[in-house]
């Protein structure tokens, strides 16, 4: 029973951690000219 709980906790923990640990472009900022 305890092993099941530990496994469930690990699974939930990985779901939370994986998106945060993703490599990605987080933000892009441009300066433009000629905009009206």
């Amino acid at each position: 029973m305890n092993m099941k709980r530990v496994a469930l906790l690990l699974l939930l923990g990985s779901i939370v951690v994986v998106p945060v640990a993703q490599a990605q472009v987080k933000h892009i900022e441009m300066r433009v000219e000629g905009m009206t």
């Binding site: 998106p19 640990a21 993703q22 490599a23 990605q24 472009v25 987080k26 933000h27 892009i28 900022e29 441009m30 300066r31 433009v32 000219e33 000629g34 905009m35």
Partner: protein, 132 residues
């Protein structure tokens, strides 16, 4: 221009400030955004991009020609323009360390109206925000 950029793949939100000519692009969570396409879309919308800065998270890799780069997707990486900050990251190449950096991907050459976007963009690291 806002609609034009908003239609690009991987773009979640675009904020345009007419006052100072600043454009903020928020990528989607999946991060499938292509900065070169954004620059092209900017030109297509009739304005000139003067500068593009990017904040990105990824691993440091060394490519076949020996250049160091930030890999943000399995098939997308940005080669570093060497500077003191990029040299400090070279030792992390090939490790699992994730690095968050802010850098300049593009700056319009002085005196030119239109940029040559055929050459690959180089990332000039301005700030190393996190290593984990």
């Amino acid at each position: 221009m806002k609609q034009h950029l908003g239609r690009q793949s991987g773009v979640q939100n675009v904020e345009v400030s007419l006052l100072d000519g600043k454009v903020d692009v928020t990528p989607k969570e999946d991060g499938q955004i292509d900065p070169v396409q954004l620059l092209k879309a900017t030109y297509d919308s009739g304005v000139t991009a003067a500068q593009m800065d990017m904040t990105a998270r990824g691993k440091i890799v060394k490519d076949a020609s020996g250049n160091f780069a930030l890999q943000v997707e399995p098939n997308r990486s940005f080669a570093f323009a060497p500077n003191e900050l990029s040299k400090g990251l070279e030792s992390l190449a090939g490790t699992q360390t994730m690095v968050t950096v802010r850098g300049q991907l593009y700056k319009k050459p002085a005196g030119k109206k239109k940029a040559d976007l055929s050459a690959p963009l180089k990332l000039v690291i301005l700030e190393v925000q996190k290593k984990e």
